[in-house]
Amino acid sequence: MKKTRIRLSLFSLVLALVLFGLTIRFTGREPFGVYWSILVGSFGSIKSFLNVLAYTLPLIMTGLGAAVAFQSGVFNIGGEGQVLVGGLASVIVGLTVPLPAPWGYLLALLAGFLAGAGWAVLPTLFAGRNLASLSVATIMMNSIASLLTEYIVKTFFQRPGASNTETMVVNEGSILPRFFPSTQFNYGIFVALICVAAVTWMLYKTPFGFSLRAMGENARAMQQAGLPIYRRTLVAMFISGGLFALGGSIQCLAVYKRFVMGFSPGYGWDGITVATLAMNSPVGVLLSAFLFGMLRSASISMSLTSQVTTEMISVLQGLIVMLVASPDVWNVLDHLLQWLKLRIGHPGKTKGAAE
């Protein structure tokens, strides 16, 4: 079963890449050139590879957040808001609490986690577990988060003389250190790896994680079995929101060292894409986050030459997430092929016959 799922995921990925190639062709670009430049841009030099890893970090966190939520059958699609709130909370702690190096950023990360978790629990209190209501509520929280963070930064923390909405640089001890000053790759990787390990352990090795996964498979059965569904939903949202928020915190503390309005190019939505491609497995998230990190880095480093643009990446992401989320695409395609064979009456030569 697991093997089939991985194979399906890979097949859908390939199909998405092919369709994306056709789309690029349609807008008058050379698909192979684009793919080649993405590859060269990611693996061309050690520096660019490290930059890809840096772009991967927030995606790992948001992907984990989405994976925890989806495995528990809770649709947390308010990741974008949680990323913003988490980033802002970390930066506020980083600005106001002067602590030496390890404690400064650890405290800031903790603040980010708690803020995001709270931001995820809040809509759950409003909407309950219902699929449609919870998705509406979390989406509304996205818009509220983006407006609220803008308001808070503008009224309380605006850096004087800055043209855009941003805070001052955080205290020295709260900056998440980079490995090499010239690349953005930073200590966030430890946070990410620890979180992946912790989530894997929690989901697969503890009774609590088992209850979450069981709830994701069949909530009604678990309710009959006496599991406190509402409380488990709140806890799942708490963990998921916190993980989403850490993505924002890492990005703010290590890359920008301050809160810049609009720092997230959609990390919350990316997280859902990452988790879907990874089939909600925490370890799979590492791989699929790397893939999307590659695309993200390509879109940012190559937008100057307009070889790969941000829009193209979101088209590709959209195709991937749609195809991977539909498990029966291959069956339907197979069925269509069978139908074509019957219709045309030349089995074994479908490709030639179809023309």
């Binding site: 089939t4 209501s133 996205n142 308001y151 503008k154 829009e311 979101s314 997430v321 069956n331």
Partner: protein, 316 residues
């Protein structure tokens, strides 16, 4: 009298702001009544808004633009329908995919068509329509007349859909397929095709919403111009208890909030706080309606009928 005139102006601006959201809500209502959650309204609106702008720009008539927008909306709905209904996909995730794909594709095309990234060239939108008799009545005239033609089309669409869903056999089937698809299948009706019809019809309305957004007052297409309207529509649909007319009144509430916001801003309240109002209203509304909410029972659930399956059993 002064009060009534300003009230009429306020009401008219609310109606104008409501028009695209109302059509989006209608799109949500139809497809959710058939059991398919369409969260991709936001992306669909942007994509179809772009297509409407292209159609209007190259042919010169906003009606052609409207048609292009509707077709673009239907196209994205076909993608959603194929994947969500025939391929048993997760509706919400596919909707998120549409939200990424639609605008991304539109911006990509915009780059290659007009070589701009943010804003399209100016296009000729709909003229405002003055109804001869009513327009001369002082207060009522402001409230009922003087909207662009597509706003009236929105009213008409809501009325027609209410009739279709509540009074026709097709509507009964659509409502039934959202509640209990297996029961509908036992009557010999193809659940897949029926759901597909509803989703594509919804897509046409979502496309119309995008076109109206682009052609009724702004008369340009701007990146990310819907600014969460599609999500508001998704929320309004729940307020309206999955009924076209109910959904319209729910969107009117949001429209009033948006109109109120513009008034409040002139009193010096921070922009961000006033902009938050409709979203807060949506949250509170979810809490309030949550108690007696009756969503279609099979909403968002994939359906696999052993006999009318268009594909082989999963896992084989």
């Amino acid at each position: 009298m002064d009060f009534w005139i300003s009230f009429a102006n306020f009401f008219a601006s609310a109606i104008r702001l409501t028009a695209p959201i109302a059509l989006g809500t209608l799109a949500c209502t139809i497809s959710e009544r058939a059991g398919v959650i369409n969260i991709g309204i936001e992306g669909t609106m942007l994509f179809s808004g772009f297509c409407a702008a292209v159609g209007t720009y190259y042919i010169g008539s906003p009606w052609v633009g409207l048609l292009c927008g509707c077709m673009a909306g239907a196209l994205l709905a076909v993608i959603l329908g194929l994947l969500a209904i025939y391929c048993n996909g997760q509706h919400i995730v596919i909707g998120i995919g549409l939200n990424l794909f639609g605008p991304g594709f539109a911006y990509m095309m915009m780059r290659s068509l007009w070589d701009t990234t943010g804003i399209s060239p100016w296009i000729a939108g709909f003229q405002t329509l003055t109804i001869p008799g009513i327009a001369s009545i002082p207060v009522l005239g402001t409230m009922l007349s003087g909207y662009p033609a597509c706003v009236y089309l929105g009213f008409l669409a809501v009325a027609i859909m209410q009739y279709l869903l509540k009074k026709t056999a097709w509507g009964l089937r659509v409502r039934a397929v959202g509640e209990n698809p297996a029961a509908v299948a036992t009557l010999g009706i193809n659940v897949y095709h029926l759901r597909m019809q509803a989703v594509v019809l919804g897509g046409v309305f979502a496309g119309m919403a995008g076109a109206v957004m682009c052609l009724s007052s702004a008369n340009v297409f701007v990146n990310d111009m819907s600014a969460g309207t599609g999500f508001m529509a998704f929320a309004a649909n729940q307020f309206g208890q999955w009924s076209p007319v109910g959904g319209y009144f729910a969107t009117l509430l949001f429209g009033v909030m948006s109109a109120l916001r513009m008034r409040l801003q002139s009193f010096g309240v921070a922009t961000q706080l006033t902009q938050m109002m409709p979203y807060l209203a949506a949250l509170i509304g979810i809490k309030l309606t949550g108690m007696r909410m009756r969503a279609p029972a099979a909403n968002g659930a994939p359906y696999a009928h052993p006999l009318s399956m268009p594909c082989k059993q999963r896992g084989k």
